[in-house]
Point group: C2
Chain length 100, copies 2
């Protein structure tokens, strides 16, 4: 498995709009086992995104999906910075759900 833990700073006032865009395509990405968007309670502009994929290839392939490309186009102007971007190797747990 392939995992990502990222912290994104939204343009001030745009965190909610950005989180909605990020979640839109989350359930229709082949190979995506988990994709969770969370607010950072310590920073009104920060979001955490945690992802689990069956492989790094599935993650890369998702970037070419129309739903994801559209989300990137709409989300990009709302992002101020990616301030953490951590790759992981998930080994298991609960809530890893295959896409249809």
């Amino acid at each position: 498995m392939y995992g990502l833990i990222g912290r994104i700073k939204a343009v001030p006032g745009q965190r909610e709009a950005l989180s909605t865009i990020l979640m839109e395509g989350a359930s229709s990405m082949p190979g995506c086992l988990s994709y969770v968007v969370a607010l950072d309670p310590a920073d009104p502009d920060a979001l955490w995104v945690t992802e689990v994929w069956d492989s790094e290839a599935s993650h890369k392939a998702s970037l070419a999906l129309p739903v994801v490309k559209d989300a990137i186009t709409r989300g990009k102007p709302l992002i101020a910075a990616f301030d953490q971007y951590i790759q992981t190797v998930p080994v298991g747990g609960h809530g890893l759900r295959a896409t249809i």
Copy 2:
């Protein structure tokens, strides 16, 4: 929802044993929507644990479950340090699975 993102340093050589213990109770904790254990590819002793709960109360209550208390007893000697412990407010996504 209530989320946690934690980075745990295992005692050298004990990361695999610790990850196994952490995962054992993951699917039987009421209110736990996601609990993923991942290796840090940049540090042979580090693990990431990402959790999503329906509420902070469910997370706190889980600490009293026999399966969790037992895991804590067995896992504690294998932990060198908790070096990050971040609380989040998950808003949604994919892979959030209710416990039975």
